[in-house]
Point group: C2
Chain length 309, copies 2
């Protein structure tokens, strides 16, 4: 079961950390981009080349420290076809370095459409009887607003290809309360009901670790909700955004983990890949050393998290 | 305001119909695909070529009858970079034929990520100071589960580039009740609360028609809910899936429209593009005439809807 492999890697590396790859051009050092612009001009295709090489340099520096990376497809998709090609290559490169890849795609649609997303992102793509590799992420994130039939095609491919998903339950952003915290008649907010559904959807994919390959996205910016959900969903592994740039600190993560210190993987994107520009790292790393600064930031994050594990 | 243009076209053509472009290879006639396979093999790139030409043939046959088409990006995206390129070309071709294009992408993510989707799909893409065209759909569908800050970047581009969005409120699929129908303390289900939010988000984008360029997705498979939402959201235009292949009939659509017969645009995908294979059209159209059969199905749908307008 994929979730067992992820948890094993977390244990081996003492590192419940996923490095978010959210390539924003304005956060990539100018000196790194300039040679590409000079040769190929400031086009979307050039941007795709830049973020591919950028991602590889980050991956090279963190692949022995963390179990997983999480490329955010929006940052690639905006550059059109070359961007998608770059996303697929980034997924492949990360896997070739032994990393588990969580494709942050947050898709959600009716069953027949979800099947196309599921085959494209997790499974294989069929062209009238001939099968071809898809994007081949290990996990993807999905949006559960439409209910089980919109999720089932992903679960089918999780079983078939040993993959996993993380469904949004309680997201890290400021306005997540608007829908996710509406109180149901039993006094529990919508996100706990969603959590209950997600637990149920994952029942057939529970591995030796006791956790399911159907996980939940639970924001670190809501520590109390996370604690309640951890108790409610003992077999559901959490993908936790919100640490670092979005404002949550290590102390906010206590509730994510069970008494064995297992239960979630914490994402940091800008806090790691943009570390070179932070006061803390600036003095030791110049712009050209952005990937080395990312490595230093991962080591610091690991130390920071140790306090709550 | 974009919504005014859409409503004007609906009135001109007496046709509140959007043709859904959901290219599934198994629903495209074998004789149409075979020449491509023989030349280029059964690859994702070939599939992309096929669905591009297929879409153009459909568009040619329906562009004088309907105001809009709705390409479903999942069907393109699964074929990787060539698929995305084909999606962008399909959007462009439909616009060149005077159609309003609703990109069915159902994206939803935190603000900084939503900005990348918004620039890519509705706005312009910036590469360090140089701007490039994005995918340039007119409307896109979005998922509201994360709340306002996840939607605002789309609204910003709606204002800036005269675009629009349709946010999921009550979806057409069987399990939509699981989250969308949870009852809140005031006795109203979650989807009505979402409807209220969507109305509010659209307040600044209400055009001369009295409707906003921020619309709602409301499934025809839930006629009672649609009627209640129509009353609750008088300024919100509905994108209505579920007619035809998903099971809803014209009588289920009454509640979608206000007393002037305005209020929504009804999607049909397989019922139109797959008409050639239906008993009703088989005798008059062979496989090679699939696009002409689609045209006939649009005319029949228009007649069918007249009864409730």
């Amino acid at each position: 079961m994929l979730i067992d492999r992820l948890i094993e890697k977390i244990r081996e590396l003492h590192s419940p950390i996923v490095v978010g790859l959210d390539p924003r051009l304005e956060q990539i050092p100018a000196a790194f981009k300039e040679p590409y612009y000079q040769t190929d001009g400031k086009t979307p295709a050039t941007a795709a080349k830049i973020i591919l090489t950028w991602g590889k340099e980050i991956i090279d520096q963190v692949c022995d420290l963390v179990p997983a990376v999480k490329p955010q497809i929006a940052m690639y998709e905006q550059f059109g076809a070359p961007g998608i090609d770059c996303y697929i290559q980034t997924v492949g490169y990360a896997k070739s370095k032994g990393l588990v890849v969580i494709g942050d795609i947050k898709r959600g649609d009716i069953a027949s459409t979800a099947a196309a997303y599921s085959d494209g992102h997790l499974g294989k793509v069929e062209v009238d009887g001939e099968t071809h590799p898809g994007f081949d992420a290990d996990f993807i994130t999905v949006n559960p607003y439409m209910g089980y039939d919109s999720i089932q095609p992903y679960i089918d491919n999780c079983k078939r290809y040993e993959k996993g998903i993380f469904a949004l339950v309680k997201t890290s952003n400021p306005n997540s309360f608007q829908i996710q915290d509406i109180i149901a008649p039993d006094g529990r907010p919508v996100h706990r009901h969603v959590g209950e559904l997600v637990s149920k959807w994952g029942e057939e994919l529970i591995g030796k670790s006791g956790f399911s390959s159907v996980g939940a996205v639970v924001g670190a910016t809501h520590p109390q909700e996370a604690e309640v959900l951890r108790e409610q969903m003992p077999h559901t592994f959490f993908l936790v955004p919100g640490y670092g740039a979005q404002g949550a600190a290590a102390k906010d993560l206590r509730g994510v983990f069970n008494k064995d210190g297992i239960g979630g993987i914490i994402n940091s994107s800008r806090g790691i890949t943009g570390a070179y520009a932070l006061e803390r790292y600036k003095k030791d790393y110049d712009q050209a050393a952005f990937a080395k600064a990312a490595r230093a930031a991962v080591l610091d994050m690991r130390a920071d998290l140790e306090a709550v594990l």
